[in-house]
């Protein structure tokens, strides 16, 4: 019982950064922009966050710096694809490659450095509840922030006028333009918010989760977050579920090994990615479902006046 609780708790911790990045990418995809640079933005933010945490000793400032770094990288990407109409796929990939190289370059001096001792968080009172306490109430505050942001984004996207406009820009930028909405600026705003959330996720990895900086620290989580948006058919709640599923499979494979279950470790290491592919195949079979949720102009540039 206790082991199951700890496994679930570890699942939530492991899923949190992926959920944050996935939500950010979902928001900018809802506006019709596909940013394949998630991995690069997360890496740049991870090294920035780590440097700030090391310099100031404040995790909060580190998350802020991570968000800012992610936002700046995203703004660069946004300027290129939205105003210069560069190819979104190629530019995003370039951002990922650039982020990997750039973060490694500026991060050389931070390899092997140690942050102050990390503290364990718990919600007073609630953390003593049987089972639920260890699962839900001994998490880093960022886990609750991720959950809250998912909730807020649902309200924003489906219950507010601004959310409606954002979705309209993603569905039919021409119509939104005709109605007088500044399509490019809305898209840029969405891209920047997406980058900021990827940045928080990256800083969380280097400052709380690892906690250290090494080259390539993000190790594929940016790509998983990208897959998550499709996996979730662009629904925020499903992004959260998918992130926990990914975290769960990751932690479960370690757990099974510890239990002495005889499975090849290479197969287990592959499981989270395999699970993503299987679910992608399953949901893609339901064409109506995908069409109902996928932003119609995703990945397409918009030329006002054309």
């Amino acid at each position: 019982m206790n082991e199951v609780a700890l496994l679930l708790a570890a699942t939530i911790a492991s899923g949190t950064p992926v959920a944050l990045a996935g939500l950010g990418l979902l928001l900018n995809e809802k506006a019709g922009v596909l940013n394949l640079g998630a991995e690069g933005m997360m890496l740049i933010a991870a090294v920035t966050g780590f440097a700030v945490a090391l310099g100031t000793g404040s995790d909060l400032l580190a998350f802020g710096a991570g968000a800012l770094a992610g936002a700046v990288a995203a703004a660069l990407f946004g300027g290129l694809v939205i105003w210069l109409n560069t190819n979104q796929y190629a530019t995003g990939l370039a951002l990922s490659l650039f982020g990997a190289g750039f973060s490694a370059f500026v991060g050389v001096g931070y390899v092997g450095k140690k942050l102050e001792d990390r503290v364990l968080y718990e919600v007073p009172g609630l953390s003593d509840l049987p089972f639920v306490g260890p699962v839900l109430f001994k998490q880093h505050p960022m886990a609750y922030v991720a959950m809250a942001l998912i909730g807020l984004s649902i309200v924003f996207l489906y219950r507010t006028r601004a959310g409606l406009v954002l979705r309209a820009v993603g569905e039919s930028p021409e119509s939104a333009h005709a109605l007088g909405y500044p399509v490019r600026r809305i898209r840029l705003a969405a891209v920047i918010v997406g980058g900021a959330l990827c940045g928080v996720a990256g800083a969380f990895l280097s400052v709380v989760y690892a906690p250290m900086w090494v080259e390539g620290l993000v190790s594929g989580r940016g790509w998983i977050a990208l897959a998550l948006t499709t996996f979730a058919t662009w629904r925020p709640a499903r992004v959260l579920l998918g992130a926990y599923l990914f975290g769960g499979v990751t932690m479960l494979q370690f757990h099974l090994q510890g239990q002495g279950v005889e499975v090849a470790s290479q197969l287990l290491a592959m499981l989270p990615y395999l699970a993503t592919i299987v679910v992608l195949v399953l949901i893609s079979r339901n064409a109506g479902w995908v069409r109902a949720n996928m932003p119609a102009s995703l990945g397409r540039p918009f030329f006002p006046g054309s």
Binding site: A90, G112, K114, V214, S219
Partner: protein, 376 residues
């Protein structure tokens, strides 16, 4: 039309620039120039290639400390070059050939995966000596050297067996190769020598270096009751995870005590300096010959250092006794009877394991849970 052409041109220029930056960063080569000797004889040129960054506090860092020891020993008589973060495979071949062409007379490749690349280049440069760490292939001008980390892990096991309250140890493994299995088994045997109830749980992460993954694996082991952890991976993540959870762990490759002041029980280290000095001396004296060198505690290559104050004095003494026993040859870590965890006898009573036996370990000893992953 022209706009479009310009646009794609810009795109490609941007991509190329970025690719070039990445490539440059990826193969960042560092030379450490020494003051040039004018009238004195030309210094001997030696080169090292590392799989990781030298700042990793782990494997590559330890090798680079060894290089520095050689530099200190030979002074102006030695000029060293390092290339760090060289991926195993085709890139390694290019880097090794490049180093040989630059006039290095001896080249040390410090990761298992450089083996075939080095063998190939060794055939092209008969006048250059090639040294490969942890491999098994040799040539007339290529030889191999290795450490005995299982000396360290046995002693770490003695400490762990004493300090565990749950009688459960955790091991974060990289790949199920004989080297790592040897370490897991020696760790378990060491712990059982002071506490027969010890069980070891093993989690494989399929990487040498991936801190988030290593800490997830460590967390998983702690969740399942392990209270003393050891890892055969190169980062400080396992130690830091133990620190966060109020459990114990060990440093690996280098002194990691600062990364987990409360969790750190001791550090299992490798001190490569003496071997590098010996190899260069042999080259200078003309006595260099192809052979396989396996050093351990006796030669000062391996050691368990910085045993924490929380460890009882009698346990520290026991570690010292073992160390002395390995040094004078009276103690062998793998001494029969050794049973595997299916109950089969792998080494008969009172028999001491030879090198061939140790090279071929493919099982867990009694007390390790689970089965060695076969990869099938």
């Amino acid at each position: 039309m022209s706009l479009h052409t310009k646009r794609s041109l810009l795109q490609w220029a941007g991509l190329t620039a970025i690719a070039a930056t990445v490539a440059l960063v990826g193969c960042g080569k560092k030379e450490e120039p020494k003051p040039a000797a004018q009238a004195k004889p030309e210094p001997l040129k030696a080169a090292w290639i590392y799989v990781g960054p030298v700042g990793d506090a782990g494997w590559s860092f330890a090798h680079d400390q060894g290089r520095k020891a050689a530099e200190a020993k030979f002074g102006d008589g030695l000029k060293t070059t390092i290339v760090e973060k060289v991926p195993e495979g085709a890139d390694a071949e290019r880097v090794i050939r490049d180093l040989a062409q630059q006039g290095n007379k001896i080249i040390f490749a410090t990761s298992f995966g450089y083996m075939d690349a080095m063998l190939k280049v060794a055939g092209e440069f008969p006048d250059v000596k090639f040294e490969h760490a942890t491999g098994y292939k040799t040539a007339p001008n290529m030889r191999i050297y290795d450490a005995s980390f299982y000396h360290d892990t046995y002693m770490a096991g003695v400490v762990a067996g004493k300090m565990s309250k749950t009688n459960t140890l955790g091991f974060v493994g990289s790949f199920p190769i004989p080297e790592v299995l040897r370490n897991i088994n020696a760790f378990t045997l060491g712990a059982q020598s002071v506490n027969p109830k010890i069980k070891t749980k093993v989690v494989w992460v399929s990487t040498w270096f991936d801190p988030p993954k290593e800490s997830e694996a460590a967390q998983s082991l702690i969740n399942q009751g392990a209270d003393v952890l050891l890892q055969n991976t190169d980062s400080t993540a396992v130690l830091q995870t133990a620190e966060k959870n109020g459990k114990y762990a060990f440093g690996w490759d280098s002194d990691m005590s600062t990364f987990g002041p409360k969790a750190h029980l001791a550090s299992a280290i490798a001190n490569w300096g003496p071997y590098y000095i010996k190899a260069i001396e042999e080259l200078k004296a003309g006595t260099w010959k192809t052979e396989r060198t396996v050093w351990g505690v006796k030669e000062g290559l391996n050691d368990l250092i910085k045993i924490a104050d929380v460890v009882p004095e009698e346990t520290k003494k026991k570690v010292e006794t073992i160390k002395a026993g390995i040094k004078d040859g009276s103690f062998e870590v793998f001494t029969g009877p050794i049973m595997d965890n299916t109950g089969k006898e792998r080494l008969a009573k009172d028999q001491k394991a030879d090198q061939a036996w140790k090279d071929k370990i493919d099982f867990y000893v009694k007390g390790v849970e689970g089965k060695v992953p076969s990869g099938k």
